[in-house]
């Protein structure tokens, strides 16, 4: 068991390192500089050269890369060029917003997805299943940013039901100090979380339906029926417990989707999270911030997968015993 954990941790570190390295070099290949775009020099060349020297950007790229890794190992993510404050502070502001959004989306994704998948499997090939299946395919096929824009247009612009962006009312609820302001936050959260969650739920439902149908065809489900159990118990206890195993893997795979999906959804809904920060920083060629967001995103993905593996091992007795 411990050897397995060590192996998994080593792999996780390697993946994060690879993501950081790729981001670092790709960003420098992209051209432009913190001083502005190639053809629109907004800063005087002398100032720019001084700034480049100050941040070490005039050094060979390998040297910069080495210095960066060394600093990261010591817990220093550097200074944001654009925000003029430590990267860690920028991340500290953005991270909670993303966690709230992604966490809520994940909740919607799996509760709705599992429920729909189980319902569809129980009604397989009947009207309810076919209607929901087509609806899920439709939602799943839409890009998240487009769905977000449409929801925003309908519910925000036309119906005025929800705010069109941000995480909270900056005037009345700058601080989270009353029940009204908690409601205000949830109100702002509703559309972006639904956009991200619905698209995820559509995919989860399709996987869960297939998993349930596969399990329902197994001999032990027939055994459960032969015992005289209610159909509800047969499906929700005997079948679902087995059909949940693949969904745990899916749960791990949902993390990258939420991270990447969040980039677009955060942008559409002006939600100042990690994705929004990354997009802003890329536009500004704010190298330290972009690299740091890649570091955090890949870290989240590997932690998500690790978590999924641990939960899987706990849920499946066949794996639990082998590992012990």
């Amino acid at each position: 068991m411990s050897a397995w954990i060590v192996r998994r941790l080593a792999a996780a570190i390697a993946i994060v390192l690879a993501a950081v390295t790729l981001t670092f070099f790709l960003l420098h290949l992209a051209g432009g500089s913190p001083c502005g775009q190639r053809d629109v020099q907004s800063v005087a060349p002398e100032v720019c050269a001084r700034l480049r020297a100050q941040f070490g950007l005039d050094r060979p790229i390998w040297e910069q890369y080495g210095k960066y890794l060394w600093a990261v190992l010591h817990g220093d993510l550097g200074q944001s060029f654009w925000q003029r404050r430590p990267v860690i502070a920028a991340l500290g502001d953005a991270m909670p917003n993303t966690l709230v959004l992604a966490g809520t989306a994940l909740l919607i994704d799996f509760t709705l997805g599992l429920a729909l998948g189980v319902y569809q499997a129980a009604r397989a090939r009947r009207f309810g299943d076919i209607a929901l299946g087509n609806a899920a395919l439709f939602v799943n096929s839409m890009p998240t940013f487009w769905l977000g824009l449409v929801l925003l247009l309908v519910f925000g612009q036309w119906l005025h039901l929800v705010p069109v962006g941000g995480t909270h009312d900056p005037v009345l609820c700058a601080r989270l100090d009353s029940l009204h302001c908690v409601g205000d936050r949830l109100w702002h959260l509703a559309l972006p979380a639904l956009t991200l969650g619905l698209v995820g739920a559509a995919a989860t439902a399709r996987y869960q339906r297939a998993a349930m149908l596969e399990v329902i065809a197994q001999d032990f489900v027939r055994t459960a029926r032969a015992k005289g159990l209610r159909e509800r118990r047969v499906l929700l206890v005997h079948a679902l417990r087995n059909a949940l195993l693949p969904s745990i893997t899916l749960f791990g795979l949902a993390f990258p989707f939420l991270v990447t999906g969040a980039v677009l959804v955060e942008w559409v809904f002006a939600w100042p999270g990690m994705g929004w920060l990354a997009v802003m920083a890329i536009g500004q060629r704010d190298y330290p911030v972009v690299t740091a967001t890649a570091l955090v995103a890949s870290g989240m993905v590997t932690v998500g997968n690790l978590l999924a593996d641990v939960v899987y091992a706990a849920a499946d007795p066949r794996i639990r015993v082998r590992g012990a």
């Binding site: 001999d219 032990f220 459960a224 032969a226 015992k227 005289g228 159990l229 087995n242 849920a315 066949r318």
Partner: protein, 342 residues
């Protein structure tokens, strides 16, 4: 004679095939009885409809694609199982009629302990508390001869061998002391030595608990050793039924004859074997297109014109009471044709 415990009349279970092109008449007008306390052997080749028959009794046929035709009748303790409401049917499943299946490897749920799976039926049907149901599960494991039952009760199916799992299946089926146990090829997936142990166990439990057993098998040897009466099925129909002794002494249907000739016997002298074991020529026809007339005629050594045109009804072979030995074969009306061939 006593009243039958289970009476199956004209059971027809059909399946709609994949492309909707045809209907597989897997079970096509089957009738038989099971009496209290007896063992009935249901014999036939793969695809003859024995498993579908047994699943139909507890209405475990997946619908769609399967369905039991109107006009079929399955009476158990005076009630037609085919018209019961789901709730009443559940009160019979696992309680009055229990079932064990061919594959002990896949018939147990991999994510629950065997104790939980055995206790479940006792909780559902007898309203036992979790603790008492667990104690009951330990008792049942002991009854089916599993060593260290108090420890084994917390094990998962994958921690047990095939024979042990089939014992668990039996413990699970018998936890509510059913009146009828349907055992669908309970030993087919097991090693020969384990097979004998399981059959002995079933035999002992049947006597101790006073239940009837419907034993479904393709193995005539198993039937000879355990069954009181035998029903032989071919192509979705019962072709012959009789008491075990009578059937083995006087098999009348050519299919039954062929089946018996194809079983190797330990008491046959080598000189009598004449080289190779007998096999019935041809193949079981497809259930979507049974042959016209007698369904066995394409493979029958005695077949004549009548067999190709007219399906024989179950005819009484006149041994003991009426209906004690019935055969679906025109040979009964023209016995001289048999001797002419032989």
């Amino acid at each position: 004679m006593t009243e039958p415990l289970l009476r199956v009349r004209d059971l027809k279970t059909y399946f709609v095939t994949e492309h909707g092109s045809g209907t597989a008449r897997a079970v096509d007008g089957v009738s038989f009885e099971v009496y209290p306390g007896e063992t009935l052997g249901l014999v036939g080749e793969s695809g003859c409809g024995k498993t579908v028959t047994s699943l139909s009794i507890l209405r475990l046929i997946p619908e769609p694609p399967g369905h039991i035709r109107p006009g079929s009748f399955i009476e158990f303790e005076g009630r037609n199982l085919l018209t019961l409401a789901p709730r009443e049917l559940r009160a019979i499943r696992g309680n009055r009629i229990a079932m064990i299946f061919q594959e002990p490897m896949t018939s147990l749920n991999p994510v629950f302990t065997v104790g939980d799976q055995i206790a479940e039926a006792a909780i559902v049907h007898q309203g036992l508390s979790r603790r008492r149901a667990r104690a009951r599960a330990v008792e049942m494991l002991k009854l089916v001869g599993i060593p260290d039952p108090a420890e084994r009760v917390d094990h998962y199916p994958h921690q047990m061998s095939g024979g042990m799992r089939q014992r668990v299946m039996i413990a699970m089926a018998l936890v509510c002391h059913p009146k009828l146990l349907i055992a669908d090829e309970p030993t087919t997936a097991l090693d020969v030595t384990i097979q004998a142990q399981i059959l002995e166990l079933l035999d002992r439990l049947q006597r101790d608990l006073g239940m009837a057993v419907m034993l479904i098998t393709h193995d005539l040897g198993v039937v000879a050793g355990t069954a009181d009466r035998v029903v032989v099925m071919y192509a979705g129909e019962v072709v012959e039924q009789a008491a075990t002794g009578e059937l083995f002494a006087r098999p009348l249907h050519p299919y039954t004859e062929g089946l018996m000739a194809s079983v190797p016997r330990i008491d046959t002298r080598v000189s009598q074997v004449r080289g190779r074991l007998h096999s019935i020529p041809g193949q079981v026809p497809a259930a979507t297109a049974w042959p016209a007339g007698c369904r066995f005629h394409p493979r029958c050594p005695y077949a004549w014109d009548r067999c190709r045109q007219e399906a024989p009804p179950p005819l009484d072979a006149g041994a003991g009471e009426p209906g004690a030995h019935t055969v679906r074969c025109w040979l009964l009306t023209e016995p001289q044709r048999r001797s002419a061939r032989a």
